[in-house]
């Protein structure tokens, strides 16, 4: 049953992701990326992370990508040449090779790790009973309070920084 949801969403994520990097028009890229975000949001829902899923939409799709679009439109960028004609090959080859290794590294040992890794208390039953959002909120304001505050400071700095940079 989950596969029925997962496979289309995964496919959508991959396709839109690929589109992001091969489409020539930045606006389309951005829109494809929004598509990826939506697909990921769906997958988050599948993973019982409703809060994250919605925040994904609000923050990424609703705010970040709008900013992107904003800038793309404001600067009115031209189209570039097809991507694969632009780059020097060695770099691409190194990149591809490294990426392949990375994939292997990621996938191969992970199974053994997860088996050994300690499991936390928040099983799906617990989460279901308490509510995903409530749990996230509780953790955020207890155990992760300090990072949370730091993040808020980062955001404040970012606001000021962005204003300073973009002025004139």
């Amino acid at each position: 049953m989950e596969w029925l949801v997962f496979v289309p969403l995964a496919a959508m994520a991959l396709v839109t992701a690929v589109l992001v990097i091969i489409l020539r028009n930045p606006v389309y890229c951005a829109l494809s990326l929004v598509g990826t975000f939506f697909a990921l949001s769906g997958i988050y829902l599948l993973l019982q992370a409703q809060f994250v899923a919605v925040v994904q939409v609000i923050v990424y799709a609703g705010a970040i990508m709008v900013l992107f679009l904003f800038v793309v439109m404001l600067l009115d960028l031209g189209h570039e040449l097809p991507a694969w004609l632009q780059r020097d090959r060695p770099r691409l080859l190194i990149g591809a090779g490294a990426v392949a290794i990375l994939l292997l590294e990621l996938v191969i040992p992970v199974g053994s790790w997860t088996a050994r890794a300690p499991h936390g208390p928040q099983t799906s039953e617990v989460v279901g009973a308490a509510g995903n959002t409530q749990l996230v909120g509780r953790l955020l304001f207890t155990e992760f309070l300090v990072p949370f505050e730091i993040t808020s400071i980062i955001l404040l700095i970012a606001i000021i920084g962005a204003m300073v940079l973009a002025r004139r």
């Binding site: 606006v27 919605v54 925040v55 939409v57 609000i58 799709a61």
Partner: protein
């Protein structure tokens, strides 16, 4: 509940709700014209049908059969896609808004809400935040400077006011201890949140008007300076879709106002659905009234108001509410 029945009921709810919504949208145009007409001491549409009741149908037919112009320099794909992008979020927000209590029908207990998501409020915001795409993309894809400016303005405006909008309802969330709209309505069994959250309500209302790009916040389509804003190039059915999106948004926002602050479907004597509709239309009337009464903001005033007035007040409201909740 058997799975089949669930499915049937679900489909039925969706069909009924969206059907009604489409109808409301089309007749909202008539309502608006009528109310504005009254405000301006004239009659409004009177020719098509009694009191112009068939006017929306006539308008729809006219728009349907008009020539669909796509400008030469436009980005065709996006140009076509944009109105749909605008319309869809406007409609799907409604999925989580409860418009009545449970009813028993055909032996089934049916919630009068399409789906009760435990993060319904966030869902609405998430979807609402997408509305901006339709406008921005439409404005950009038209490849027209007025359209682009309108689009950019609208995106800036919507992002700005979305902030205050979101912050204004935090008080409600704190009081109801839930993000589910059904539970928020449930929490208003004794007191409506408009009583407990008058400031939150006011901010929400103002931001809601801004979010829907309606007067006095209709800068994106300010005729006097931008001709018609982001949809200046649009015609025919695509134009109709933008139009519908605006009114659908209005309904959604009004429904949200009702749900969050006015006790939702709650009320004495009358059936819940009726109460819900009454409150909904009262809010919509308020919107139209505002449009008939207030002049348009200047753009800098608008931004300043959003960031320097509404945002701090909303934050203060949260602090006060938090103290209140903590002390309770």
């Amino acid at each position: 509940m058997p799975e089949g029945a669930f499915f049937v009921i679900m489909v039925a709810k969706i069909v009924v709700v969206f059907g009604l919504m489409l109808l409301s949208v089309s007749y909202l145009t008539w309502v608006e014209r009528k109310v504005i007409g009254d405000i301006q001491v004239r009659l409004g549409p009177m020719r098509v049908g009694p009191h112009g009741l068939l006017q929306p149908i006539a308008d729809g037919l006219k728009l349907l059969f008009k020539e669909d112009i796509i400008p030469q320099a436009a980005d065709r794909t996006l140009y076509i896609l944009a109105p749909a992008v605008a319309l869809i979020p406007a409609f799907i927000s409604f999925a989580v808004i409860p418009f009545g209590d449970q009813v028993r029908l055909f032996g089934q207990t049916i919630d009068l809400v399409i789906t009760d998501v435990n993060i319904g409020l966030l869902y609405v915001f998430g979807v609402a935040s997408l509305g901006v795409y339709g406008i921005v993309l439409g404005g950009w894809a038209s490849n027209n400077k007025y359209a682009l400016l309108g689009g950019l303005r609208s995106s800036a405006q919507m992002i700005s006011y979305e902030l205050s909008l979101g912050l204004s309802v935090i008080g409600v969330v704190m009081l109801s201890q839930s993000l589910s709209l059904v539970e928020i309505v449930g929490a208003q069994a004794r007191t409506w949140f408009i009583i407990l959250q008058p400031i939150g309500f006011l901010i929400f209302l103002i931001c809601a008007v801004a979010e829907t790009n309606r007067a006095p916040f209709d800068l994106p389509e300010a005729e006097t300076e931008l001709v018609a804003g982001f949809h200046v190039e649009y015609s025919s059915m695509k134009f109709a879709m933008y139009f519908m999106a605006e009114y659908a948004n209005m309904i959604t926002v009004a429904a949200m106002t009702t749900t969050l602050f006015l006790g939702g479907w709650r009320g004495p004597w009358l059936p819940p659905v009726v109460w819900f509709l009454v409150k909904l239309y009262l809010v919509i009337f308020l919107f139209i009234w505002l449009r008939g009464t207030l002049p348009r903001f200047r753009y800098d005033q608008l931004m300043r108001f959003g960031w320097k007035v509404l945002l701090p007040i909303a934050l203060a409201n949260i602090v006060v509410t938090a103290v209140f909740v903590a002390l309770r």
